[in-house]
C-alpha cells in the first residue's frame, strides 16, 4: 500500500490524519515539524506527503523546497495542509513546488477523497 508522510505540529490533528489514513489501508509516517519530516523522508521514501505550513523549527514551505531538492521527491505529490485560504500562501506554496492544498478544517471523508484523487 502507498506510504504517506503526515507532517503537523498539532498532535491531535496528526493523530486524526494518521488514524484516518491507516484505517483506509495506507502506511503512514508521522512527523512533528519540518526537521523531523526531512529526516523521516530521507530514511524511507513516501508516495505522498501532507504537511502543515505553520510549524516550528522548519515551516512547510521550507520543508517543501528541501524535499523538492532531493531527486526521489522532485515530482512526488506533496500537499499543503493549512487554514490559510489566502491567495498569497497558495501562490507561495505553488512557487515552492506544492502539488496542491487541502484547507482546514476538513473532515476525514474529504481527506480520503483528496488522497484517492491523487494516488488513485
Amino acid at each position: 500500500m502507498a506510504v504517506i508522510l503526515a507532517v503537523d505540529d498539532s498532535t491531535s490533528l496528526r493523530q486524526m490524519v494518521t488514524y484516518t489514513l491507516k484505517e483506509a489501508g495506507y502506511e503512514v509516517m508521522e512527523a512533528v515539524d519540518g526537521v523531523d519530516a526531512l529526516s523521516a523522508a530521507k530514511e524511507k521514501e513516501f508516495d505522498l506527503a501532507i504537511m502543515d505550513i505553520n510549524m516550528p523549527n522548519m515551516d512547510g514551505i521550507t520543508l517543501l523546497k528541501e524535499l523538492r531538492a532531493l531527486p526521489q521527491y522532485k515530482h512526488k505529490p506533496i500537499l499543503m495542509l493549512t487554514t490559510e485560504s489566502g491567495e498569497e500562501k497558495k501562490q507561495e506554496g505553488k512557487a515552492a513546488g506544492a502539488t496542491g492544498w487541502l484547507v482546514k478544517p476538513f473532515d476525514p471523508e474529504r481527506l480520503l477523497s483528496i488522497i484517492k484523487k491523487v494516488l488513485g
Binding site: S12, Y19, H75, T83, S85, G97, G100, L112, K117, G120
Partner: protein, 464 residues
C-alpha cells in the same frame, strides 16, 4: 468510512492548554519597540493550531474566536499593524477567555457568549481600527472579489444573461430574512428545465504540469465522479519516442461532461493546475446563465451565511437546500468576522466535583528518559535470561555465579525503579508558571512595577 473524532478530543484539549500557556508566556515577554518576530510567530502559531484543531473537531465557537486572534496576530507579524500595549492586554484577556472556553467545551457546557462576543468585538475593533472598507475586506479573504461583485449584482439587480429570468424573492414571515425551503423550491421551479446538459471542456496543460506531482489523470478521475464523461486526447504535440521526456506533457484533452454540476464545481477539479494550463468551459443544454445563476445564488447564500455567523451553523440545523442571498442586507454589513455566535453544544454534563479539573492527565517525557528505560529493561531481560539458563542446569559450582547474577538482578531492578520515578519528575517551574501573569496583572491593578525573579526553576520535582 466514518471516523469517530471524539477519540482525539482529549489530546486536542491538552495540546491547546499547552499552546495557551506558550501564548501567554510569549505575550508576557513582548516588548514594544523591540524585535519580537520569533515571539510573535510563536503566538501566531499557537492561535493557528488551536483554530485548525477546533474547526476540524467541530468546536465552531472556539474556531471563530481564535480566527480573530490569529488574523490580528497575522496583521502584526506581517507589519500591517503595530504592536501596542492595548493589543497585548487584549490578547492576554483573550487567552483567559479561550482557556475558559476550552474547559466549557470539554464538559459540553454552554459558552458565556456575552463574554466571548464582547472579547471578540474588542479584538475586531483593534483589528479594523484605522482601516478603510477595502482594507477590511482584504484582511480576511474568505470571499473572493468576483463573488463579492456577484453578490452586489444580486443585491442591486438581476444577474445578466442572454435571457433575463426574474426571480422573485419574498422574505418569509417565519424565517426572517431568508426564504423558506418551499419558497426556494418555487424559485427553482421558475427557471426553465432541460434535457442533457453539461460542459464541453478544453484542457491544454503546460508541458511542465507534472513537474510538481500533478497528474491529468487525477483531474479526469475527479470529473468522472461528477457525471458522464467522454474524453478525447490530442497527441499531435507529443514528441517522438526518442526525444520524449517522461515528465513533460505533450497531450491536451477535449472532454464532454454530462452533468448538473456548475462551472465552479468543474473548475474546482482544476484548482491545483489553473495557473499551469489553458482551460475553457462551454456549457451545453440548459442555458449557461440559468445553470450558473441557480448555483451562484445558492453558493452566495452559503457564503453569506458563513460570513455573518459561521458559529451559528453548529446550532441551527442547516437546510438541505441552500438559500439565496438576502436583498435587504446591505453590502457594507457583510464582514468576514463573526459577530454573534450563539451557544455551542447544548448537552450538559456535570464537571467532576472538587479538585482542579483543568489539570491534564498526562505529562511530557523527554525521549532520553524513554531511551534509558528501554536500555534498562534490556539489561534486566538479559540478566533474567542468564539466571534462568543457570537454573535449568544448576550445579553447586555455579553458586558464585548465581550470587553474582542475583546481585546484578537487584541492581537492574533498582535502577529501573529509579528511572521510572524520574519519568514523573518535571521541572518545578510548572508550579510557578502562573506567577508572571499574576504579578503583571497585580502590578497593573496597583499601578506599580514589579520584577519577578525565579531561580532554581529547573529543579526536578514529582508532578502530583
Amino acid at each position: 468510512m466514518s471516523v469517530d473524532l471524539s477519540q482525539f478530543h482529549q489530546t486536542f484539549f491538552e495540546e491547546s492548554s499547552e499552546g495557551l500557556d506558550e501564548m501567554e508566556s510569549g505575550l508576557l515577554a513582548l516588548k514594544i519597540g523591540a524585535d519580537n518576530e520569533e515571539t510573535i510567530n510563536t503566538i501566531f502559531r499557537g492561535a493557528h493550531s488551536i483554530k485548525g484543531g477546533a474547526g476540524t473537531f467541530g468546536f465552531d465557537a472556539i474556531a471563530g474566536f481564535t480566527h480573530v486572534m490569529e488574523t490580528l496576530m497575522d496583521e502584526i507579524r506581517g507589519g500591517n499593524k503595530k504592536l501596542s500595549q492595548e493589543i497585548i492586554e487584549a490578547f492576554l484577556q483573550s487567552v483567559d477567555c479561550l482557556r475558559d472556553m476550552m474547559m466549557i467545551q470539554q464538559y459540553n457546557e454552554e459558552h458565556d457568549m456575552d463574554r466571548v462576543n464582547a472579547m471578540q468585538a474588542e479584538l475586531e475593533r483593534l483589528l479594523y481600527e484605522g482601516k478603510t472598507e477595502e482594507e477590511i475586506a482584504a484582511v480576511d479573504e474568505e470571499i473572493t472579489e468576483d463573488e463579492f461583485e456577484a453578490l452586489l449584482d444580486q443585491l442591486h439587480g438581476p444577474v445578466g444573461g442572454t435571457e433575463e429570468t426574474t426571480v422573485v424573492i419574498e422574505p418569509s414571515a417565519d424565517t426572517g430574512d431568508f426564504p423558506s425551503e418551499s419558497e426556494y423550491q418555487e424559485i427553482l421551479d421558475q427557471l426553465p428545465g432541460g434535457d442533457d446538459s453539461g460542459w464541453n471542456i478544453s484542457f491544454k496543460p503546460d508541458a511542465d504540469l507534472m513537474g510538481n506531482g500533478n497528474d491529468p489523470l487525477h483531474i479526469i478521475r475527479e470529473l468522472e465522479g461528477l457525471g458522464d464523461l467522454t474524453v478525447n486526447a490530442d497527441l499531435s504535440a507529443l514528441s517522438s519516442f526518442e526525444q520524449m521526456n517522461p515528465v513533460d506533457l505533450g497531450i491536451s484533452w477535449d472532454m464532454k461532461l454530462v452533468t448538473d454540476s456548475t462551472e465552479e464545481i468543474i473548475r474546482e477539479a482544476f484548482a491545483w493546475v489553473e495557473d499551469s494550463c489553458d482551460l475553457e468551459l462551454n456549457h451545453f443544454g440548459k442555458t449557461a446563465d440559468q445553470a450558473v445563476t441557480a448555483e451562484k445564488e445558492s453558493t452566495m447564500a452559503e457564503k453569506a451565511v458563513t460570513q455573518t455567523a459561521p458559529a451559528q451553523q453548529t446550532v441551527q440545523q442547516p437546510e438541505a437546500e441552500p438559500k439565496p442571498a438576502v436583498a435587504e442586507k446591505p453590502a457594507s454589513d457583510i464582514k468576514p468576522a463573526v459577530s454573534n455566535a450563539p451557544a455551542a453544544t447544548a448537552t450538559k454534563s456535570t464537571r467532576p466535583a472538587g479538585g482542579d479539573h483543568a489539570e491534564t492527565a498526562s505529562i511530557r517525557v523527554a525521549t532520553d528518559k524513554i531511551d534509558a528505560l528501554i536500555n534498562m529493561v534490556g539489561e534486566l531481560v538479559i540478566t533474567q535470561s542468564m539466571l534462568s539458563q543457570m537454573g535449568n542446569n544448576f550445579e553447586i559450582s555455579d553458586l558464585p555465579r548465581m550470587v553474582d547474577g542475583l546481585a546484578e538482578l537487584e541492581r537492574n531492578s533498582r535502577e529501573l525503579q529509579e528511572a521510572v520515578m524520574r519519568v514523573r519528575m518535571v521541572p518545578i517551574s510548572f508550579a510557578f508558571a502562573r506567577f508572571p501573569r499574576l504579578v503583571r496583572d497585580l502590578g497593573n491593578k496597583l499601578g506599580k512595577n514589579f520584577e519577578l525573579k525565579l531561580t532554581g526553576e529547573t529543579t526536578s520535582s514529582t508532578k502530583p
